[in-house]
Symmetry: C2
Subunit: 331 residues, 2 copies
C-alpha cells in the first residue's frame, strides 16, 4: 500500500542501501546520487516507516509514554502540554495514557505501553506498590515518576516542594494574624501528607500550634466533599478565621462553602487554579510549576535513554506563593 524503500530503490534504479543512506543523511553518497534518490522519494511520496525502523536490535523507539490520573486537572494538563512540547523538540512522540488512580488500570496501561516498546515511561503514580516495574527498568526502559514518588522501586522522580510551599502558606496566614486555622486534607498519599506536615511544622516554628479538631481528612478529593467539610468548620461555635486547602479542587470547594462569608474567613490553597483572582475574594495559592515538572521529566528520561546510569535523581521544584489579598481578617 504505502511506498517502501524498495519502491524508491526501484524508481531510482539504485540499491536499497543507497536509499537508506540518503534517507538518513549519510554523507557517504555522491551529490548526483543523492539528488536522483531524493527525486524518487518525492515522486513516490515515500515516508520512512518508524515502526519497522525501531524493531531493529538495540534500537529504541522514539516514543515516550505519559501515564497520569486525570487530564482534567489543570495541573496535569499543563504538565502534559510541556512534556509533549519538550519531547517533540527532541524528536520523540508521546503516548498518553490514563489510569484514573486505579492501581490495576495503571498496571494494565504500563503493560500496553511496554508492549509498544516505548523508550521511556513517565508516570504519576498512585499509592500502590510499584515493584512490578522493576523488570521493565532492568530490561532497559527508564521510568520517571512525577508529582509523587513511588514505593517498591528506585527511579528518578520529580516533585514540588510540598512542605516548603505549605510552610509558606502557614507563614502567610500567621503574618496576617490568624491563629485559628481550619485545614481540609485530600485523601491522597504523598502530596497532601507532606503539605499537612509542612503546614503544621511552620506553625509550630512560629510558636503556634495547629488545632487538630480543625483538621478534616476527606474520603474523596472532590470540591463537594471539601465544601461540606468547610461548611462544617464554619458552623462551629468558635469557627476558624482561615482555611488552608491542600489541593486545588479542595480550594474550589472551600470557596463554595464560604459563599456570603468571604470577608469573615481567609483562604489559602495549594495548587493554583484558573480564575482564582476573579473570585469574590481572591484566593492566595501555593503554585507548583507543572510545566517545569513535565519538562524535567522528559529531560531525565532522555538522559537515561542516552545511557546515563547513575543513581536515581530526585528533583524538587520550588513553589511560589501567589498572594491575592485573602489574608486579612475582616470580621
Amino acid at each position: 500500500m504505502r511506498p517502501t524503500m524498495t519502491d524508491v530503490a526501484a524508481a531510482a534504479g539504485v540499491g536499497l542501501g543507497t536509499v537508506s543512506r540518503v534517507v538518513n543523511g549519510d554523507p557517504a553518497v555522491s551529490p548526483a546520487m543523492r539528488e536522483r534518490v531524493q527525486a524518487a522519494i518525492d515522486a513516490t511520496r515515500y515516508r520512512r516507516n518508524e515502526l519497522a525502523r525501531s524493531i531493529r536490535p538495540g534500537q529504541t523507539s522514539t516514543t515516550l509514554a505519559l501515564l497520569l490520573g486525570d487530564l482534567t486537572n489543570p495541573f496535569y494538563a499543563r504538565m502534559a502540554k510541556a512534556a509533549v512540547a519538550v519531547a517533540g523538540d527532541a524528536g520523540y512522540a508521546v503516548l498518553l495514557s490514563t489510569a484514573d488512580e486505579d492501581p490495576a488500570a495503571e498496571q494494565r496501561a504500563v503493560s500496553e505501553l511496554v508492549g509498544r516498546r516505548v523508550a521511556g515511561l513517565m508516570i504519576v503514580p498512585d499509592q500502590g506498590d510499584h515493584a512490578y516495574l522493576a523488570p521493565e527498568v532492568e530490561l532497559g526502559t527508564p521510568v520517571v515518576f512525577l508529582d509523587r514518588p513511588a514505593t517498591g522501586i528506585e527511579a528518578d522522580v520529580v516533585v514540588i516542594d510540598n512542605e516548603r510551599g505549605s510552610a509558606d502558606a502557614a507563614r502567610h496566614l500567621i503574618a496576617h494574624g490568624h491563629h485559628r486555622i481550619g485545614v481540609v486534607v485530600a485523601p491522597s498519599y504523598y502530596t497532601t501528607g507532606r503539605r499537612l506536615r509542612g503546614f503544621r511544622r511552620a506553625l509550630r516554628e512560629a510558636g503556634d500550634q495547629l488545632d487538630n479538631s480543625l483538621v478534616r481528612h476527606l474520603d474523596v478529593g472532590s470540591a463537594e466533599a471539601s465544601a461540606a467539610a468547610v461548611a462544617d468548620l464554619l458552623a462551629l461555635p468558635d469557627p476558624p478565621t482561615a482555611i488552608f486547602a491542600t489541593t486545588g479542587f479542595l480550594s474550589q470547594g472551600a470557596v463554595l462553602a464560604m459563599r456570603g462569608r468571604e470577608h469573615e474567613v481567609a483562604l489559602v490553597g495549594f495548587d493554583d487554579f484558573p480564575l482564582a483572582e476573579l473570585l469574590p475574594v481572591p484566593v492566595t495559592v501555593v503554585a507548583g510549576d507543572a510545566a517545569a515538572m513535565g519538562e524535567q521529566a522528559v529531560r531525565l528520561l532522555l538522559a537515561r535513554i542516552a545511557g546515563e546510569s547513575g543513581p536515581a535523581h530526585r528533583t524538587v521544584l520550588p513553589t511560589r506563593l501567589i498572594e491575592r489579598g485573602s489574608g486579612e481578617i475582616h470580621a
Copy 2:
C-alpha cells in the same frame, strides 16, 4: 535484551508458530500445549512486541493520533481524556501531539505521526488548507476533524452546534429584557464565526437587531484582550446591558473587566468553564460536550479502520444552555 517469541519457543521446547497461536488466543491449540507455552511465557516474562507485529502487511498499528492546539484549554483536555479512554477500551493507544495553531507545525506533526504508521488521525484543524492530507487518506489512514471542519479535503468531522447554541444564548438574553448587547469575538475561523452568526440571527428572528458598533473582533483570543474590549464597551456613553463572549477565555476576560459592575451588566459565554458558578455573579454559559466529541471521533475512526468506506460523516453535537442567573438587569 527483551525476551522474544523465539526465547519462549526454546524455553517451552515448541515451535514458533505454536507460541504465536497461544499468544493470540488461537483456539487451535491443545490445552496441554497451551499450558506449557503459557508457563514459558510467564517464566521468561515475555511481552509481545507490538512494533514488530504491526510492520506486517495489511496490519495496521493499534495506535491513534490526537493532534490539537492547546491542552490547557479545559475543553480540549476533556476531549482528550474521553478520546484516550474510549480508544483504550478498544485496545488502542493514543499518541498526543500539539500544533499550537501553527499550520507549519501541524503539518510537521502529521508527518511525524504518519511516519509512526498510526491507524488513524484525529485533528483539531487550524484555518490553513488541509489538502496535504489527501494522499494520507488515500493511502489508508483515516482522518477525523474535531471542533471545526477543515478546508481542502473531505473527511469525517465532529462539531458542536455553534449556531444553535449561540441562538439559545441570544434568546436567553432577550427573555431577560436585554436589547443592547455587546459581543466579543475571538479571532478564530469557524467556530466564532458561526457563533456570531447564530447569535445575530436569533436576535433578528426576535425582531431585534445586533448593534455592530458593540461587536468587537479581537486580534488574539486571550482573556486580557477580551477584558480590554469589554472595558471599552462598558466605558461607552450608552454601555450595553449585557455581554456575549464567544469563547471561554473571552468570558473570563469579561468577568475581569466587569469587576465591581457585575450587577449592572449580564454575561453569557460560549464554553463552560470551571468555577463559573463561583464567580461574583454566576455566568450563564453555552456548554458543548467535549467528552462526547472525543468519543465520537474515536468511534468514527475505528469504523473507518474497520473498513467503513461511505461518504464523510458530519456529526453535530447539541449544546446545553446552563443558566446561572446572570440574565436579570439589575441596574
